[in-house]
Point group: C2
Chain length 626, copies 2
């Protein structure tokens, strides 16, 4: 697959866009005309910038409202096209994207359109230019790619082809199988975009919510498989209008675009190796996806008196130090199957993290069946390695830089890696656990900004094959929070991301206190929560208003015993069609808090109670201030 | 009209909501059940808070998914209602809002619903409680108020009525005239909400985009006129779910809510005095809307060397000092009909404004036919007066505190007020103007946050009767800007408000530099721009890339002379179906800049060129930094 990106996908000026696309590894760039217009140098200079960066200008786009206009407009339209051909010669690009007419003045006459395209293609041919006709989903008469293809067929000119844009095709809900009927050499260009499924005006949807393949919900792999059947071997080019991309550094977005196309061709090769074009099969060499099955440990950055406060909280939850690192100031705390590492090693990543963010999660270790594969896969997808310092005799845990400032480690199960606790750490004597109930990490919730979400979701999709659920609205007394969760197939890794729509919400307040995005809370699953909770000092548990329980009793058939227990221990409750959920929250340290949960055939996160939690936290904070 | 507000409209906890509603002058408040649930005190305490604040708890809401459930659920539903009746007794409220069932489990059986409501109303009656049934626009079988009314009619119980919510009725596009057929005493409550017209999933539309009457586009006055015909004389209560409201201080939102209802009843009384209920006609006593016909002057806060830079810029545009204030360090600069006041008076509002915002607009004076009416009207609508210090023999210009930190003055035309320049100022000798073309203020654009927009638009709607146009998207190289314009009927007052959707856009950068929201640019209309511009030193004009003109020539039939002139003087061009528009921008001082425009039967703002302007500003800023 030849990778390209349209300049409109990126922030900044045209030079910055070209340089970033080239640096990210794209071989081609489409010049969105506005970017040229806004740039303070001639097309010839732009051509030189592209040449200097070793990237092809594969097309100029878009040319609008050409076909089927009244006679008096058509002369102007042909002249206008000639001016664009001049610009294209200066730019050294041979392809012009023409999108279907949206003007109220145009008429519905495919035969006329074909005739006009034939005439324009003659002129284009004399200048070595190819035209591509693209159906906009809101085109006045040509809105489907099948209608555009009918016109291109009728025009029957070697310098005219069709341009396929996945967004317009999915937005119109059209059958993909018609794509395979188009000969590959009649496809001028393939533009690719993903998007979430939204019930929204299609123009708004297209202009603001497109995203890179792998960041949305469209079946983009299936789309590309149909394209592959045509024999098309030209560029596949991102065409993404996204407001968040325009507010993200150019280089970061370009890199995500590259990752997205690498992912896309690997998915294609993985799903149907027989139908992909030879070039795709050859280049699709990502190290295979290893299974990432669970959270192995969570590492915290803390120090000094902040550490004492934090220790007090996790001790109340039943955590005990079970190991001490042999050479570093690193301690392992355990509560059943939950491993917390407290890292106070001077000059370490953790201590730098602490200086910036205060007591916080600085790394998460995931259990995998092949840590080396995961690290190689991360490198293939251009994510950065992170090497820890290990002394001889100590183990090197493979790691990468994750999103939002944390590290991500891979701990191999069933190999030596699994036992790095035993190799690098000295076991300590411990007392009996407060509760024998099995415990494990249920979910890890981060507070991030909306502009970080697409990058973050791509990271977890591409590397971990996590799927992202539909957004949930959480009502905050001071604004709206939108929550989206990435989940592993086995449901053992659950990562909710909370994004604030307002500057005053609890999530934004957390991000301010935390000095950026990061883990806001860790939910621990307990198989016998009602017994366990009796052993936790209530002064560490978030207090829930009595009114909540009055309403709960009205809504659900709870036994008087359960109800009394919930009131006593500040437990929250939710039901789904298949099961129920009991949970509670701790007080916070530096905005970081814990949740204890018990699921019974229940797949959600107690979102229905999120507003209760947030309001109770506001109340607790106000009490602390008084 | 008896004014009420639902607690869900406001941010904060229930106590803060009740206090703010009472302070804003509401006589009633609906308790949204979640607000009670989240509040850490019993319903009896809430009742006392309301009593202490002299405000009635007019309803508890909502009671969900009651009617037409399977038999096994109905018993639970009756029990659940009894629990709510208990809570209502504690709260001392007599009305329960029941919204139509959305559960997939419910059945379509109006007769059964009527029977169940009759039974529940019997029980309610024994406790002095009234039930109100409300059709949610997304109710499973009852989605229209006409369907709800059929059930209420059939149930035929004195303790059961219908609740009308304007949002649900408008969202379903229903004919308002059916409202008048309902007897007023069968209407339990009227809930009111406005909203913009959006092509959006109705649930999302309702949950996030409702706003106070006067802030949206629904014909809310017509809705209330239909209600008035029924003889209904109960509470009219805001029911607004809006994310921005939740991130705005409680008291500010409550005040806007009060203004909105005052405006609504005045609009009703103004449009059809014969059909409004006596109470409304009697209380609708807002001082009449005076005509506000034009911008009279713009006052700038500046000082020291910043003043010199600013003076250099406006001098280049042809402004000359024509007057000096008799007793204050205040100068009047004029260019044809445009009056700029530069205020350096120590300890003045302007100088405080300068300390916070730098060189900036600190006041705008509007020409009106009755300044006293405007000030009284502002007071009636609870906006704050602002009194300037005037010495004997000097005139007092009536003023109020506007939105976004500026002052708003009213200058009476055709009276002494019109000539305050002559009374308070000493005329200076001036040289001949650079151009004889007529000039006037065309529009004043502010950069504000999205959360400020609703308050701002209410201010200009209620006081100035300005209308707000549909939003326009402006593409910024670093994010999206949404622009909405408030316009007077005579089109002489045009106030675009630019809101950034990202933290890096030019509008957000302006807001950061400016230290908050405020005027970002002033457009001056010139009747002979092509001659005028020859007299302006090009070093003060924003440079436009050549590529822009190449594209312009391809798109429009411009004469070679015009085209050459536009290139030479960095002019921009736009066309509409009826006319055309020529404009250019100056460099900025502290983020504040000017635009010179000439309209020819053209009603827009050159939005099509906004991205050219923004990119050129980014380029200029980068050049300055190098």
């Amino acid at each position: 697959m030849k990778h390209s990106i349209a300049s409109v996908c990126l922030s900044g000026n045209l030079k910055q866009k070209i340089e970033a696309a080239a640096a990210a590894g794209f071989r081609g760039i489409e010049i969105f005309e506005n970017d040229l217009l806004l740039y303070d140098a001639s097309p010839a200079v732009v051509r030189r910038i592209a040449e200097d960066n070793n990237i092809d200008i594969i097309a100029l786009q878009p040319f609008r409202d050409f076909e089927c206009m009244p006679r008096q407009n058509m002369k102007k339209n042909y002249d206008r096209a000639e001016r664009k051909f001049d610009t294209m010669a200066e730019l050294n690009t041979d392809t012009l994207l023409i999108c279907s007419n949206v003007s109220p003045a145009c008429v519905d006459n495919p035969a006329l359109a074909a005739e006009q395209f034939n005439r324009l293609a003659d002129s284009a041919a004399s200048r070595g230019i190819r035209l591509g006709y693209e159906a906009l989903a809101w085109g006045r008469y040509t809105a489907d790619f099948t209608a555009a293809w009918d016109i291109v067929k009728q025009a029957d000119h070697p310098n005219l082809g069709i341009i396929l844009d996945s967004f317009h095709i999915f937005a119109r809900g059209r059958d993909l199988s018609a794509i395979a009927e188009i000969p590959g050499d009649k496809i001028t260009l393939v533009q690719i975009a993903d998007a979430p499924w939204l019930k929204l005006d299609v123009l708004q949807w297209s202009r603001h919510f497109r995203c890179f393949p792998g960041q949305g919900q469209f079946p983009v792999v299936e789309f590309m498989q149909e394209v592959a059947k045509t024999g098309y071997d030209g560029y596949v080019s991102h065409e993404i209008f996204n407001d968040e991309f325009r507010s993200t550094p150019t280089q970061d977005t370009a890199l995500d675009g590259k990752r997205s196309l690498l992912w896309l061709e690997n998915e294609m090769a993985g799903r149907a190796p027989d139908i992909v074009a030879p070039e795709i099969a050859e280049k699709a060499i990502a190290p295979p996806q290893a299974s990432v099955s669970d959270v192995e440990f969570i590492e915290f950055a803390t120090a000094g008196s902040a550490r004492d406060t934090f220790l007090e909280l996790i001790s109340a939850l039943g955590f005990q130090q079970t190991h001490q690192h042999k050479s570093k100031d690193v301690a392992l705390f355990r509560c059943q199957n939950v491993n917390f590492i407290l890292n106070q090693e001077p000059d370490s990543f953790a201590q730098n993290h602490f200086l910036v963010h205060g007591t916080s999660v600085c790394a998460v270790g995931y259990r995998t069946d092949n840590a080396q594969n995961m690290v190689s896969r991360a490198s293939y997808f251009k994510y950065s390695r992170f090497e820890t310092e290990a002394r001889p005799q100590e183990m090197q845990i493979p790691g990468i830089r994750g999103m939002n400032g944390e590290l991500v480690y891979f701990v191999e199960s069933g190999s030596d890696h699994r036992r790095f606790y035993d190799v690098d750490f000295i076991p300590l004597e411990t007392s009996a656990p407060v509760s024998k109930a099995a415990m494990r990490v249920d979910h890890i919730t981060s507070g991030i900004s909306e502009s970080e979400f697409l990058s973050t979701s791509l990271f977890y999709r591409v590397l971990f094959a996590l799927n992202v659920d539909q957004p949930q609205d959480l009502i905050d007394p001071y604004g709206l929070i939108v929550s989206r969760t990435a989940t592993s197939q086995n449901k053992k890794i659950r990562l909710p991301f909370n994004m604030s729509r307002s500057g005053n919400s609890s999530t934004e307040q957390f991000r301010r206190r935390h000095g950026g995005s990061g883990v806001q809370h860790i939910a621990i699953h307990c198989d016998d929560m009602l017994t366990y909770i009796e052993h936790v000092d209530q002064k560490y548990i978030l207090q829930i208003p009595e009114n909540y329980y009055d309403d709960l009793e009205a809504r659900f058939d709870l036994s008087p015993e359960l109800s009394a227990k919930m009131r006593k221990y500040n437990l929250l409750y939710d039901e789904s069609p298949t099961g129920y959920f009991i949970h509670c929250y701790t007080i916070d340290v530096n905005g970081l808090f814990f949740e204890i949960v018990q699921r019974h055939q229940y797949g959600n996160y107690g979102e229905a109670n999120a507003h209760v939690r947030i309001a109770a936290q506001v109340t607790a904070r106000q009490k602390n201030q008084n």
